[in-house]
């Protein structure tokens, strides 16, 4: 099931190569991308209810790997390079399920949207896009570090081309693409070193994440401070760059401004989540001790990127750069959530009498993962809206817009809804994640969370100030008098995202249940008994 | 050593001398045609030796194949390249001295080797006609080499034809 979801897009990409004309490719790509979406939905709906089908059945890997990965559902495991202890080991749990579903959803929507906007080199675009989808899905699905790294790199290459080739000329796409590629690659190189270190020092030399986590307590790489810190930093760098966290974020605005609409939707929607997913899948369970000692530092970085992100966003004149910096801001919350969870000391995790730290840790992680999901939905929507605006006005200078609420009411309405969701208005998706993160992180990183809260005000400020004021309100000037409102397909692209924003805002239980189950498991694994 | 033994040794020596003489003639005769004929003589000598080793079938096959086919082939070749015959100055090329010494050493080494090595002799008398047994052996135990050789001959046939074609 999982392998099907992961590799269907790849198969689609290959088939596309053989299709003759452009609109055949477009129609095929869209229909084909619906299949993984359907499968992912079925998996999400079904997966909690089928315990026996979901567990690690039918896996050919060694018994201790099976034992270690009981919590992971829909597991499949085939020894790939037994000599090196590498297995094609895939499996999902409450955390990766929503992200997978989001990946498939956003890819389908972006393909649907770009079907009418991309006219140059259509075949390559759609093939690369599906390849990118496989790369991303692969990362969320793989439970083997080696496999994780491979998919991590696969995800990188198509994005480079998407930015490089289909980017907008005036934003120096080549410079942005190379910067994006090299920056992330540098990070992933450190990650590779860390993976190899883990492999070398793990007792049964293996790359398998569940096994490594299970044997963490009595394994050399965890006990030896030097190795565990080095490995932790290796992983942290790769994920921080991808997040992006404060000092490593400069590639994001360039990449976003240059990327085509569909590209930046997927880049912001999912590629940023790879970093976050890395935190939760690798850093938290495998390096609780090290992460704990670094928690304050990382928390500080997170808070800086929240406040700093919102401040810089406020100073932006380009709509897309503003949204890019807003992503830095939102991602700051995610890292804050993880840092807060990591800051829980061991005994706080174990004995409940000390006060419900376990619950607050769980809230932090729930909040972080949900924030990732909602950020994907909201920023995806925002980038679509920016793209649609760019299609019409061919400029992203905020100063030139005004009074769109009157001239293009539907666009105005949707932008208003997304803007408020993004700034975290309760009742819409943005607030839930942030609230849970803040709720969770107050217990452990109180002071930092206070500063983060200020960030929230600035977020509201810069969004309203720059976006809503400049674009929607005010006197509509003659230049945009005959601006066409949203066409059918554009509305259709945004409707699912809008519905998601409202539904999650009002009743987030259906996602939080899935995530909560997995968070409890993660926290238990973190506590070294 | 009874009479018969002596006679057989005498006969052997005679045949050996004749064969070697013919061999030397093949090698040394200036006129290639004569050399070819000397070669035929050697073939007959070798056939005789086979007879002395009681391998009649092989002797006759030797005559049939070597004398009947290969000698004729060589004669044909000599005849076809006859134009060169007259201008034959010396049939020995420049490096014959080196060759002679090397071969001399080789022969001495071989001779010593032959004398030194304790050959395993199992002196079984040959009773009756060996040819039927040979026939069966060829088509049973040595079937594969037999087939391979047949293919080889086919290949040679075609190869020679193509190479020598006008």
């Amino acid at each position: 099931m999982l392998s099907a979801i992961t590799f269907l897009p790849l198969l689609g990409a290959i088939i596309i190569l053989f299709l003759p004309n452009d609109n055949a490719i477009k129609r095929f790509a869209i229909l084909w991308s619906i299949i993984p979406l359907a499968l992912a939905t079925v998996a999400w709906v079904v997966f909690p209810t089928w315990p026996e089908f979901t567990m690690m059945n039918g896996s050919w890997c060694s018994p201790e790997i099976n034992a270690a990965s009981l919590e992971y559902y829909l597991g499949e495991c085939i020894p790939w390079i037994p000599a090196l202890g590498i297995q094609y080991h895939v499996g999902i749990d409450g955390i990766s399920m929503p992200l997978i579903w989001l990946t498939t959803l956003l890819t389908t929507l972006s393909l649907f949207y770009s079907a009418r906007n991309i006219s140059t080199r259509v075949k390559e675009f759609f093939a690369l896009f599906l390849l990118l989808e496989t790369g991303m899905l692969g990362v969320f699905v793989s439970l083997d570090l080696f496999l994780f790294y491979i998919f991590w790199e696969i995800g990188l290459v198509p994005m480079y081309f998407l930015i490089g080739i289909w980017g907008h000329e005036q934003d120096r796409p080549q410079y942005a693409a190379i910067k994006f590629f090299l920056y992330t690659l540098a990070g992933s190189v450190f990650m590779l070193l860390a993976i190899i270190a883990l492999y070398l020092f793990s007792t049964p030399n293996t790359f398998d994440i569940p096994l490594l986590t299970a044997t963490r307590d009595n394994s050399v790489w965890a006990k030896d401070v030097l190795i565990s810190t080095a490995a932790f930093i290796g992983f942290f760098l790769a994920f921080a760059i991808k997040m992006p966290l404060f000092p490593f974020h400069t590639w994001l605005p360039d990449a976003h401004t240059a990327a085509p609409t569909a590209g930046s939707v997927v880049l912001a929607g999912i590629l940023l989540k790879l970093g976050g997913y890395g935190f939760i899948r690798i850093l938290l369970p495998m390096f609780p001790g090290t992460f704990n000692s670094f928690a304050i530092g990382i928390g500080a970085l997170a808070v800086i990127s929240i406040v700093y992100g919102s401040l810089v966003a406020m100073a932006q004149t380009d709509f897309k750069r503003l949204v890019a910096y807003s992503s830095v801001n939102h991602m700051g919350f995610v890292v804050l959530g993880f840092a807060a969870a990591a800051a829980l000391t061991n005994e706080q995790l174990i004995n409940p009498e000390l006060g419900n730290y376990f619950n607050s840790g769980a809230t932090a992680i729930n909040g972080a993962v949900l924030a990732m999901f909602t950020h994907g939905v909201i920023t995806g929507g925002l980038f679509f809206l920016v793209g649609m605006l760019y299609e019409r006005t061919h400029t992203r200078e905020l100063a030139q817009f005004g009074g769109f609420m009157a001239t293009v009411p539907i666009y105005g309405g949707l932008l208003l809804l997304t803007a408020f969701a993004s700034l975290g208005l309760p009742g819409l998706a943005g607030f839930v994640g942030e609230f849970l993160v803040l709720r969770g992180s107050y217990t452990t990183l109180t002071l930092l969370t206070f500063i983060a809260v200020i960030g929230v005000i600035f977020t509201a400020a810069y969004f309203l100030w720059r976006v809503v004021q400049k674009v929607l309100l005010g006197k509509a000037d003659e230049k945009w008098v005959n601006l066409p409102d949203l066409r059918g397909y554009e509305v259709l692209t945004l409707v699912p995202l809008a519905v998601l924003m409202i539904v999650i805002g009002i009743y987030p239980n259906w996602i939080l249940d899935t995530i909560n189950a997995a968070t409890e498991v993660i926290l238990k694994t973190m506590a070294s008994v | 050593m009874d009479l018969f033994g002596v006679i057989s040794q005498l006969v052997f020596l005679l045949v050996a001398v004749l064969t070697l003489a013919a061999g030397l003639a093949t090698v040394l005769l200036r006129n290639v045609f004569h050399a070819a004929l000397a070669l035929v003589g050697t073939f007959f000598g070798v056939a005789a030796i086979y007879l002395m080793l009681e391998a009649e079938f092989l002797a006759i096959v030797q005559i049939l194949v070597y004398v009947g086919a290969i000698a004729v082939l060589i004669l044909f070749a000599v005849m076809l390249t006859r134009g060169m015959m007259q201008t034959e100055d010396s049939n020995i090329n420049s490096q014959w001295a080196w060759a002679a010494t090397a071969i001399g050493v080789l022969f001495v080494g071989l001779f010593i080797l032959i004398l030194q090595v304790p050959w395993k002799i199992s002196g079984q008398p040959v009773v009756g006609d060996t040819t039927p047994a040979l026939g069966t052996a060829l088509l049973t135990t040595y079937l594969l080499p037999f087939e391979v050789v047949s293919v080889l001959l086919l290949a040679t046939l075609i190869g020679a034809f193509i190479i020598a074609r006008e």
Binding site: - | F4, L37, L64, V72, T131
Partner: protein, 378 residues
């Protein structure tokens, strides 16, 4: 030893008598047994050889006579009748002619090759006489590879022809030699293969073995009458053999009209005589082989009882076959070289291969049927 055996089988009994006589003589002289064996071996050997050396030339002479008589008859003329009654002494006259004629050796000739050529042509033919079984037990030696030996001797002729052609420094001779060699080589294959058919049937290569296999049914046991295969094999063998010895239909090498006398143009006197002798002896050998292989050699009614009849039967059959050969000479035109080659390679070789295949299949089927029947019966 009694009279009856003497009458029925004179030559063999005389030979044995002689042999035991000498042994007894030597034993009485106190010669050590192996020496006796050696001496007896030598003497008897010499006797047999001389017998053959006498019979062969005489046969040859009277074959020339027969040939000239028959061919003349065919061409509606009388043939030699001046020299002796019915020209019977003509061959002796020819013989004297050969001996007395001057033996010219042209200048520029490759002397050793030129001189050796006739000898190399004659020796194989005479050697092949040693294997032929003239009568019951009347063969000089009964090699169990007799037939193969005969074929080997046949193939040696090429060398002689080559030497003659090459050695006589004469373009016609050379071309004649080349043609002869090519012809002999290419017809050797069909000849051997047709003989293989008989070997398959008889299961043995020694002439005696084959002849004994053809006994029975008043002659119907001969391989000639082994119907589907017999006649064809005989006919192909005859053609191939005729071509081997450059007899009439295939006598391209010494075709008078084109190449003066082929490879033996430069020869005269006794050397030419030898060539002539070789030719005729070859004809005899071919007929003898054909007779032994296909017409049962010395086989005939009552030959067991009266071995002597064997000789009569053998010579009768051979003379008839020689007659056929002469008949060829009288009636068939000479064929062209390319026809010769074409016929040899593209008709005869495949035919004989097919024939061998067929006979092998036939024998195998017969044996299986046999086993089946016996198995059924048993």
């Amino acid at each position: 030893m009694d009279i009856w055996t003497l009458i029925t089988d004179p030559f063999v009994t005389i030979y044995n008598l002689l042999r035991s006589g000498i042994i007894g003589l030597l034993a009485s002289l106190g010669v050590p047994p192996d020496w006796i064996a050696l001496i007896v071996f030598l003497i008897m050997g010499i006797i047999v050889v001389t017998a053959i050396l006498i019979v062969a030339p005489v046969m040859m002479m009277y074959m020339t006579w027969l040939e000239r008589k028959l061919v003349a008859r065919m061409q509606d003329r009388v043939g030699p009748n001046r020299v002796g009654p019915f020209g019977l002494l003509q061959p002796i006259a020819d013989m004297i002619k050969f001996l007395t004629k001057e033996d010219i050796v042209p200048e520029g000739v490759d002397k050793p090759v030129h001189l050796l050529a006739p000898i190399v042509v004659v020796i194989p033919v005479i050697l092949s006489f040693s294997v032929i079984q003239f009568g019951v037990g009347m063969g000089a030696v009964d090699l169990n590879l007799g037939l193969l030996f005969l074929l080997a001797m046949g193939s040696m002729a090429t060398i002689g022809v080559f030497m003659a052609g090459f050695g006589s420094h004469n373009k016609f001779a050379m071309i004649g030699g080349m043609r002869a060699a090519a012809q002999i080589i290419s017809y050797e294959i069909p000849q051997i293969l047709s003989v293989v058919v008989v070997v398959l049937l008889a299961g043995s290569i020694s002439l005696n073995g084959i002849i004994e296999k053809q006994s029975g049914l008043f002659g119907l046991g001969w391989y000639f009458f082994y119907l589907p295969v017999g006649p064809i094999a005989f006919f192909i063998f005859l053609l191939a053999a005729t071509a081997e010895i450059n007899r009439v239909p295939f006598d391209l090498p010494e075709a008078e009209s084109e190449l003066v006398a082929g490879y033996h143009t430069e020869y005269s006197g006794m050397k030419f005589g030898l060539f002539y002798l070789a030719e005729f002896l070859n004809t005899f050998i071919i007929s003898a082989i054909a007779a032994s292989l296909f017409f049962g050699g010395w086989q005939g009614p009552f030959v067991q009882q009266i071995p002597a009849l064997g000789i009569a039967y053998f010579f009768g059959k051979t003379i008839i076959l020689i007659g056929i050969q002469l008949w060829f000479r009288g009636s068939l035109p000479r064929i062209r070289v390319d026809q010769l080659m074409n016929f040899g390679w593209k008709r005869l070789v495949p035919a004989t291969l097919a024939l061998i295949l067929f006979t092998a299949a036939f024998l195998w089927a017969y044996r299986v049927l046999n086993q089946f029947l016996t198995g059924l019966g048993g």
